[in-house]
Assembly symmetry: D2
Homo-oligomer: 422 residues x 4
């Protein structure tokens, strides 16, 4: 029964209808304590049992039992006399510490890209044992062709690190990737749509494969190996062939309620604006991504469209010309910078993050994060006396993406080995 | 030590540096089981002990102990012979059920607004016992004047429900409100900035007060009393004097990492665009909110600016004219609809919610959610074969906001009475 | 018969089809020499017969005959011993010069406006004999009410200059005015559309009446009494309640091929842009005119729409605030300035004038023609080494418009008295 | 001395200062009657002396004298028994008519273009005697290289029509061309800026050369050989590698007050909009010209920028895809159409022409002038009950431009042979 204002009018019902969320905020499924112990040790590098007990708020007895289990499983080991971070080199002999058995498991992380593919082989402690970069023809590919490239990378890594069993593979690629199902709804790298990528890759490699959007794997690289390790909440924004975003909330990657959010490159910043390669108009990406800058560069630099050039080469020339004072070249970066300011301001208005990390190779183009850009971003943000959002620039090298795919695989593998299901 | 690609190169260190988040995803602090039992009963209206055990995955013994505690605290009570929802009216005598003691506690919810203030008094079960609406002068006010209005509402409710002890007050108002500190950074209703609203209200009323952005209290109304009760994730978008948004993730309100995100009205959708009352240009609100439509209405309807009119009255006339076919009036709604489509598409691209609820009085202006608007929203969204985001329209009456403020107060009070601190 | 490329193929026809314009460029109907002599004397103030012969390239005999005619008609008279401009005060007695008989004819010029009406009575030499300014209610009026105001002005002038016969009246008003037919297609001052203004005014006054767009009369003021007297080609741009433009080509007002061009205020500078009072979107005027600035001012200054204010008062406050550093107030003028730069650049690109005169009261708002505005205007113009278009600012007082309407009436009256028809 | 309102206050001066334009509207220099007779005959194809007298309002005696002169000069000749247009085949013998001696003079018209050069040789009556089209490398060229191509065309025409003396050459090319000085300030076809094109071409060819902007020569084609022959006023708008415009006022080409106006392609229709090849942003051309469509086509069609393609080929593919329903391809034409509507509406608002002719090869892309485009153009125009501007589509073939250059040369040659100077 609805009252005049459309709310349920409970005053007339005999039994109370109840109020509040019917599904309680279950939160994330609590990970088993055993897993929490293992992850604490891995995060610290080494940890004494007493430190573990203190950190996880559990009894010394529980720690003893849980670590015994993990040692028996071959996942942890004792190490004596090792200096422990954060501990005074005190009197008496140093306590026995624990560390993980790094070669208990191995994973491979792969980044698929436009012009080259890169991969990293790491142990269960996240240490890189081998890496490989292979050039690739810069065009859309059939799935089988992409998997040929994946297989070639895996072979190359196996050759470099013979005898290591690989337990899981993580793959990051641009496009609309559903991490949960492993399907690729659309990718600029692949022909076709709605591709069962994970399944096909698992069949090809005979290994568990986890796929994700490349901005997400970049964010995992920051969360597992970079500045994000000590932060509960942060955002990563990256510009390349597209514009990507990743978000960490409470120490975990947030992928949107249905798993495919954070598509910052495709928020609309101009009605009926510039054409995006997704086919829509006015996407942020259509003002910022490589292809967007390159198509204006061709106009600015008066390039003959019959003389082909890769977007990267075009951008390099554009950057050089802008540095040398070429007016139209400068307006291209200036405009891109203003739209980046808009994109970042919108991230701040909606997510209010502690930190935004601007990451990726394009950060070499310093026009994009010039003081004016960051100042405009702050101007476009309602602060009203609050401290403005912090912004950091991380001009990572190429392997960071593959390292992020390593983190993807490590996380999934750890869940599998130690999670509630085990 | 950094490797060539800027990542920490661990191969050379003796002790492993560790990887992965240093702060584990603690998630939300687990609420005490006792609180979970209480909230389950309140959500169900009534529940048998066996149902509680099943729902919370705890033993019958635990339930017996916990409910005994809650009964002793005067928060739950047994009720016999009551029909239970979802239970067949079976053979034998119905089991003893539990329900909360509704008058164990009382709360007041208040919505401060432009032209009138509204309030609801409810018991601990969320049942509305009294409500009040008072007209208010439509202009910015000093804090003390606003508190006069709050006090008048509280008195009015106390008169209607004499003898009820009030334990907490929730207040929703538009602007930049920091729920955690209770400070109002800026509000179109108040003079000044960075106002210690919560503190001043507590001193005035002698009661615990919780304040929040009005879009958040509207979202709580949906989560506690509306369509959101059964949904773990949903977004609420509302258009009024401003454009607001609330987001529920995992059954809890998400306010942004630093507590003041979700400012959908101030995302930028046009560089150097229309002027927003926040002083910036190109905010979504500057194309959608009452004042934005009203200022174009004055042009479209050729109103003499010397003949004053409230924005609401102007909008009513505009709507009537548009319905009657007035060309410029129609373009105003059409443009607002297109920008609403942009705003909703951006919400979908970033949060990928299951459901977006369009809520608030302005939903009477059906142009705003005409088929074309929703179709354009879907067109502006990358779906690639995925089901589009669902959209529902809730044209709530006026008291829904105050009801949401009730939910705010109830939630805080429950935490206080039964949370980890207790 | 058409050839392959669609042109008439004349090679197959027996008789030549001819080529070139069938209507020869008749140019403007050559004014009779007598009129040319009269206008030369009026323009010079005084002229000796020899100077006339030299200026018009006619024989001394012709000048003698023509001036005799004009003297007989009571339009010219001899004046002795007068110093002549441009002539050395030489030896011997100064030659006999001619000047017009100023009180041979009289005209009235009227400007209808939003808040006050102004009028000037002048003799046939353009000398102002009387003027009047009357306040007027600021709202659209019925034609008869507007004519009441016109009649009141005429009476007032007659009182000031009793005994002067008035031969013609010129009236300037904003809107779409067809000078040739005297009909007003639309005016912000008048109720209704397609109004036979000239006819009604002639009936009311019993005098010949000529009407024109107010930007045109302002341009005539420059051409007859201002900086334009010595220029064959120039443009006038004015900002007030609307944005107007006038253009002089070869010493004559150009009104567009069909008589109603030069509507600079309604060129579109933004697809789906701000709403114009004409009902369309994206007109230049919708970013520049009084009403456009005033509606943003209400937002910027947080004015209560229920507290009415005239646009002019609003603009005064806005200007004061901007001068004092108010951020949003400054963005309003800054944006208006950028759009003015766009409008002026478009004028340059299309008409390539020698000079643009920015005229009107709004030129007091110096933000509008700040150095940045004029620099941006030049930046937006293809110059490629040519000298940029000159811009002058004329902050005329109020009577200049009525003076322009005097010029309108004088020109028409001269044609009538001395033109080919006479 | 200035009065309170800034106008010269004449009341205090002794001698009248004069009013009205000091430079009388000299209009265009009246062409000699002899030239008018010649042009009338050329325009009619044939004309009897009595018709000439009637058309030019001169006496039979004058006609007899003037035609005798022209016959003596070898420019006109008598022709007997010829049917005259517009004359009833009446009783009695047909009167003697006059026609021009076509091979009295010859001219060449040339259009320089991106991918091919075209030329026409015509007699003094405008009849085409030969034509030539030569392919050209599609890139900017040095002046000498461009003149090589001009010379090759001239040679080719001379071979086809041996023994004809050529008296003048007209050349049309895109860019900023100053017809009066013959200098090219900038052209997309030529390297460098401010090029003394006319002078260099005259030295190379040993012939008088006249150069003009290609939109102007296209307009002359309409005025001399097309629909414009019978119209005193019309505008021509053309889309190709750029967007051009020509305007005829009173039967003569209007090139702007300083000779380089009518740059419709470079009016600004969007602040900070798309990049134009002129280096500025927001030019109409940047949304309409070949290069603008082609760069979006590369995005829409997902073309590899490393696989080169000419803009024309890209446009052909785009058009085919749009016809087949490709969504993004259609949005490209749809957007171009909307901007064309804006450009045409602005032409109407400023020039108020009787007729706009949309001309050029691109008119094959019928999306550009679809009913929606023309309807939007009318919607964007203030008509208020007046008949809307007429629009015609002329999908001329290639030689029309060269034919327009013929008209340019013919007009200049006629002035030279018969003008006031002769």
């Amino acid at each position: 029964m609805l009252g005049a204002d459309g709310l349920t009018d409970t005053s007339l019902t005999e039994a109370p209808a109840g109020c509040g969320p019917i599904l309680p905020p279950a939160g994330r499924i609590q990970r088993p304590l055993r897993q929490q112990v293992f992850e604490h040790v891995r995060a610290q590098g080494r940890a004494a049992r007493a430190d573990i007990a203190r950190a996880l708020c559990i009894s010394a007895g529980s720690v003893t039992a849980l670590t015994a289990d993990l040692i028996a499983m071959g996942l942890l080991r004792e190490v004596e006399g090792a200096p422990l971070e954060g501990r005074e080199a005190g009197r008496g002999r140093p306590p026995v510490a624990l560390e993980i058995v790094p070669d208990g498991r191995h994973v491979i992380g792969i980044k698929l890209s436009d012009e080259r593919q890169s991969a990293v082989l790491a142990d269960f402690g996240g240490r890189r044992l081998a890496d490989a970069v292979l050039p690739a023809p810069a065009r859309r590919k059939a799935l089988t062709e992409a998997l040929d490239e994946v297989e070639a990378l895996v072979s190359r890594l196996r050759e470099q690190a013979p005898g290591r069993r690989v337990d899981a593979v993580g793959i990051g690629l641009s496009g609309l990737v559903d991490h949960r199902t492993g399907r690729v709804a659309w990718s600029p790298l692949l022909e076709g749509e709605d591709i069962a990528f994970k399944q096909a890759a698992e069949e090809r490699l005979g290994l568990p494969v986890h796929v994700d959007n490349d901005a997400n794997v970049l964010t995992l690289a920051e969360l597992w190996f970079g500045a994000g390790r000590a932060l509960p909440d942060f955002a990563v924004v990256t510009i390349e062939h597209g514009v990507g975003m990743g978000l960490v909330l409470d120490g975990r990657l947030f992928r949107g309620s249905r798993g495919m959010g954070l598509e910052l490159g495709h928020i609309k910043v101009q009605l009926d604006g510039a054409l995006c390669r997704c086919g829509q108009r006015g996407c942020l990406e259509a003002y910022l991504a490589d292809y967007a800058l390159a198509r204006e560069a061709a106009t600015a630099l008066d390039r003959d469209p019959r003389a082909p050039q890769s977007p990267q080469a075009m951008l390099e020339t554009l950057f050089r010309e802008a540095k040398a004072g070429h007016h139209a070249a400068r307006t291209i970066f200036a405009r891109a910078g203003r739209y980046l300011a808009v994109g970042l301001a919108n991230v701040v208005q909606l997510f209010d993050p502690d930190l935004i990390i601007l990451s990726g190779e394009r950060m070499r183009y310093d026009f994009l994060y010039a003081d004016e850009v960051l100042a405009e971003m702050q101007d476009l943000t309602l602060t009203k006396g609050r401290p403005p959002a912090r912004v950091e620039i991380h001009a990572w090298g190429d392997l960071v993406w593959a390292q992020g795919a390593v983190a993807l695989a490590l996380g999934m593998l750890t869940d599998e080995v130690l999670g509630s299901g085990s």
